[in-house]
Symmetry: C2
Subunit: 110 residues, 2 copies
């Protein structure tokens, strides 16, 4: 019904899904890639960099911030964004553990 039955899954499964969902949109992928590419913080030139309207970018940034993957700090009229290194590392570990499950090729398999 458009609503996920999160209560029947483990906390780990829900956490993996939440982080993965953050990367489930190319705009958020592009935002994060740009934050990595630029060494310093990005002060809101993301709207020009990516071809979406300002409210849309703002919305994507909010989602990433809510997950803790990025930080934003007000600087005058501008807001500067950057990756949150600690949380990024934590997220990376959680997802890596899931992705790196070994694929053992069995004989009597499909």
């Amino acid at each position: 019904m458009g609503i996920s039955k999160t209560e029947i899954f483990t906390a780990q499964q829900n956490e993996i899904a939440l982080f993965a969902k953050a990367f489930g949109h190319p705009a958020r992928v592009a935002i994060l890639q740009h934050l990595f590419k630029i060494d310093t913080c990005v002060c809101g030139d993301l709207v020009n960099e990516i071809g979406l309207a300002q409210p849309t970018i703002s919305q994507h940034l909010k989602e990433l911030k809510n997950l803790g993957l990025i930080q934003g700090s007000v600087e005058g009229t501008r807001v500067c964004y950057c990756i949150d290194p600690g949380n990024w590392t934590k997220m990376k570990q959680i997802l890596s553990e899931f992705l790196n499950q070994d694929v053992s090729i069995k004989k009597d398999c499909c």
Copy 2:
């Protein structure tokens, strides 16, 4: 508008988003984890394993199969599923490259 503007992003960004979206639901995470846990193929006991209705599981399986992450082979009245090792590895490389971007902590950052 509920529709992603994929045309303004690179093929790489869209590919990352597509794979990530596959893991963006706990049911699909649970399905994949079970396929890894069980050595042999799984013949449709996923409905019992996970607490969702049979059509719902079937729908999630279809999405994973469309992405190439799992294979399904008919065996009598049953269908056996397993991870597609090659495509799983390919996906892992694409996502790892994105996740492993180095977080360089700068001085005059947020």
